[in-house]
């Protein structure tokens, strides 16, 4: 097991698409994420692991442009996180689905796709909805869904638009076994399509599917490199 906080770049390969330089986040005197240097290459598949409060969601939020940095910088596809070009490249699937009360699943998808310049017919998303197990509820309001169905809707929204980097926060929480399997296949498909996939998870088994595991503890980087599920359990006690 390597423990190298100074590592800044991955081995030679495709160019970096997500680069953080001393990116930090604090709330008053509470440090949510200590200065973090990280470089993730295009097409990489990364698992972000750590116990509760380790800074995983904070990192994803900052990379997505949702949270402001207290210090340092984050670049996505060559643009500062939160800039228009970065927003066009990054798709963020949060752990807590945020949906409209008055739009159906299909309308949600059409709306978000339109906001990203996708010109598609209303039934163009049926394949995606079918794969995630939501086709039969496509015309229902997610406001009346269970936690798991809302999570599936949120996942569909994250995948309905063009993207270079997919950031996913605790995607397996609340999903049933078929939903979990469908999500894993969709993440694999997204990666095969050339996107970089970063998944924050408590699930140590997920690291078997990724190229690289980044572990955080109390806002600090404690591991960056390949890892086995046993390594993850040892590192973060997940």
């Amino acid at each position: 097991m390597r423990r190298d906080k100074r590592r800044k770049t991955a081995p030679a390969g495709p160019p970096p698409i997500l680069v953080t330089r001393g990116a930090a986040k604090s709330y008053g005197d509470l440090v949510a994420l200590a200065p973090l240097d990280l470089s993730i290459r295009a097409g990489e598949r990364v698992a972000l692991v750590g116990h509760n409060g380790s800074g995983k969601s904070t990192f994803l939020g900052m990379a997505a442009g949702l949270l402001e940095l207290s210090d340092g910088s984050i670049e996505v596809a060559g643009a500062p996180a939160g800039a228009s070009a970065a927003r066009a490249s990054v798709s963020f699937i949060p752990d807590n689905p945020v949906l409209y009360d008055d739009l159906s699943v299909r309308e949600h998808l059409a709306y978000v796709a339109a906001l990203h310049g996708v010109d598609a017919a209303v039934d163009a998303f049926d394949d995606l909805l079918d794969r995630i197990g939501l086709l039969h509820r496509a015309d229902d309001l997610p406001a009346r869904f269970s936690r798991g169905l809302r999570q599936k809707t949120s996942i569909a929204l994250g995948l309905v638009r063009p993207l270079d980097v997919l950031l996913v926060d605790e995607p397996f929480v609340g999903l049933d076994a078929p939903g979990r399997q469908a999500l894993l296949e969709l993440l694999d498909q997204t990666h095969r399509d050339g996107a970089t996939v970063v998944v924050a998870t408590h699930d140590p088994l997920y690291v078997e599917r990724v190229d690289r595991c980044v572990a955080l503890r109390d806002g600090e980087l404690i591991h960056d490199g390949p890892a086995t599920p046993d390594d993850v359990l040892r590192l973060v006690g997940a």
Binding site: L66, E68, G82, F92, L99, L115, H116, D119, P162
Partner: protein, 552 residues
């Protein structure tokens, strides 16, 4: 994976979808509901107008009063502008004034849409609504003023509306600029206090030259035209224009936090759930407890006074903003009571409310206990006993706040007699504010229907009860300031001011002890009342049991 059209007009797509959603919403609104809302607004407006007209009166002012209005009116209107500006800066430093739907923050602001164009529409709609309300208020104020002042009513109404609109433009523009410029909350407060203090000092004639007087001159244009009013209008428009130009730089983080909390805050305010309002407001202001306390108490040193120690552990983690706010409230209360001593009796209410607000913070350890009822139920003593023990910390904190207030009051006009009165009044002021705050915190939000005898009362009685529950806590805090009034009355009649204050203070102490007894015995009283009701209305109890069984 889907691909984006390179020449797609994202802003147009956003506009079309927003239009679609608006049409859907409108289609869901029944015309009966819309009529009802208009009807209720009309009734409330008419009632407000009636009370306002009664308060203003309708007799023409005397020449000397007219001269006072001409000399100081603009200065006092400047105080109104200062208050509006303070609200704007405060809102802006917390990500306001706009409150976007949370899903809009997530899906629109994180899409590659031009944020300025995405946000400008909602901003302009909000500003349009505020300007409409300001115009109506300004016209009404102008109409009421015209009954007591010279010149034509139309002129006062027009200038009243213009003053209100210009003030709202300034406040809204300042809020936008503060928001996009990430103005720190403390700086916003500092600017607000500075400008507000200057405006008040200008009104009192202590200083001359509050910049906000220029806005006030607009309201008095029918009496005397001043070019400074035009300058104020230009500044207001410029501030709004700058805010609108930079509106795309808003903080997405603050927008999301605001979208999450403001909705809950409004709901809690609607239910008059003051405790929830306070907690949510703290979250909105990111007012978090300090990780490192101001003074570290010995761990495990709870000894024989665990509640007292727990209370101080909480107080010692208060953020600097809360400490500063309490000191400011103390100063405000002290200055207001100094005004009462000087003869302005209504300032008692200002002092009481300031102390009440500070008291709500001072009883935080008790409020935490109430927020987590399972904790107090898990200890082997009565809940009321735990609550009573919490009062001590609140009283000590409020004594400190009251001492600060007394010091501020004495600094304005130092005297030995004043010192004696202030020293006596500190205790009832602290006790009154804690009594009010603890009553508010323990009462919680008004119960719409509890299934007890109150549910059998006619709406008028139930409504009166809700009103009393809302007014009683701050009234207790005002009661704590009455010894100042007693001292003034004694001094005016040639008596001993300190003795009168002492006698009144004893009455406040008695009231505080009654409140303390209520806190201690509240659960027993409720149990006794419920048993009495069950005995009086056995059918109701039977129905309750049946209802519970049915629900199970």
């Amino acid at each position: 994976m889907l691909t984006a059209e390179p020449d797609a007009d994202l802003e147009l797509a956003l506009a079309e979808w927003r239009g679609y959603r608006r049409r859907k919403r409108l289609a869901d609104v029944h015309w009966i509901d819309a009529m009802y809302q208009a009807y209720m607004t009309g009734i409330f407006g008419a009632v407000a107008l009636y009370f306002l007209a009664a308060a203003v009166g309708d007799g023409p002012l005397t020449p000397s009063q007219l001269a006072t209005v001409a000399a100081d009116g603009a200065d006092w209107l400047g105080v109104v502008v200062a208050v509006a500006l303070a609200i704007g800066l405060r809102s802006g430093s917390r990500g306001g004034p706009l409150v976007l739907e949370r899903a809009e923050v997530r899906h629109v602001l994180l899409a590659p849409v031009d944020r300025a164009r995405a946000v400008r529409g909602p901003v302009l709609r909000q500003l349009r609504f505020l300007l409409f309300v300001a115009s109506v208020v300004g016209v009404v104020a102008g109409l009421l003023a015209s009954r007591r002042l010279e010149h034509h009513a139309a002129a006062w109404m027009a200038c009243g509306a213009l003053f209100a609109v210009t003030t709202v433009l300034l406040a809204y523009g300042a809020a936008l600029c503060a928001s996009v410029g990430r103005l720190p909350s403390w700086l916003g407060t500092l600017v607000s206090v500075g400008l507000g203090g200057l405006a008040v000092a200008d009104g009192l004639g202590v200083v001359n030259g509050s910049p906000l007087t220029a806005w006030g001159r607009i309201g008095l244009w029918p009496d005397a035209f001043s070019v400074w009013g035009l300058v104020a209008m230009a500044v207001s428009l410029a501030v709004v224009a700058v805010g609108l130009m930079r509106v795309g730089d808003l903080s997405v983080e603050a927008a999301e936090r605001r979208s999450t909390l403001v909705g809950q805050l409004r709901f809690a305010a609607t239910l008059q759930d003051l405790r929830t309002v306070i907690v949510l407001r703290r979250q909105l202001a990111m007012e978090l407890p300090r990780l490192r306390p101001w003074v570290r108490l010995r761990v495990g040193g709870t000894g024989r006074v665990p509640v007292w120690t727990r209370g101080w552990r909480g107080v010692l983690r208060w953020p600097a903003a809360r400490v500063g706010r309490m000191l400011l409230l103390g100063v405000a209360a002290g200055l207001a009571l100094r005004g009462v001593w000087a003869g302005t009796t209504p300032l008692l209410v200002v002092a009481g409310v300031a102390l009440y607000v500070a008291g709500l913070d001072a009883v935080e350890p008790l409020a935490q206990e109430i927020d987590h009822p399972t904790r107090s139920r898990s200890v082997p003593i009565e809940r009321g006993e735990v609550y009573v023990r919490h009062l001590a910390v609140g009283v000590v904190v409020m004594l400190a706040v009251a001492v600060v207030g007394a010091a501020a009051a004495l600094l304005v006009g130092p005297s030995l007699g004043g010192l004696a009165v202030a020293a006596i009044c500190v205790v009832p002021a602290a006790l009154g504010s804690v009594a009010g705050a603890v009553t508010s915190v323990l009462s919680g939000m008004p119960e719409v229907s509890t299934g007890d005898a109150w549910s059998l009362m006619p709406p008028e009685v139930a409504g009166m009860r809700i009103m009393v529950r809302a007014v009683w806590p701050p009234a207790l805090a005002v009661l704590g300031t009455l010894p100042v009034l007693a001292a003034r009355a004694a001094a005016e009649n040639g008596g001993a001011a300190a003795s009168a204050a002492g006698a009144a203070a004893v009455a406040v102490v008695v009231v505080f002890m009654l409140v303390g007894s209520w806190v201690r015995m509240r659960d027993r009283m409720h149990a006794w009342w419920k048993a009495a009701m069950d005995q009086a209305f056995p059918d109701g109890k039977q129905r309750e049991r049946e209802g519970a069984a049915h629900a199970a």
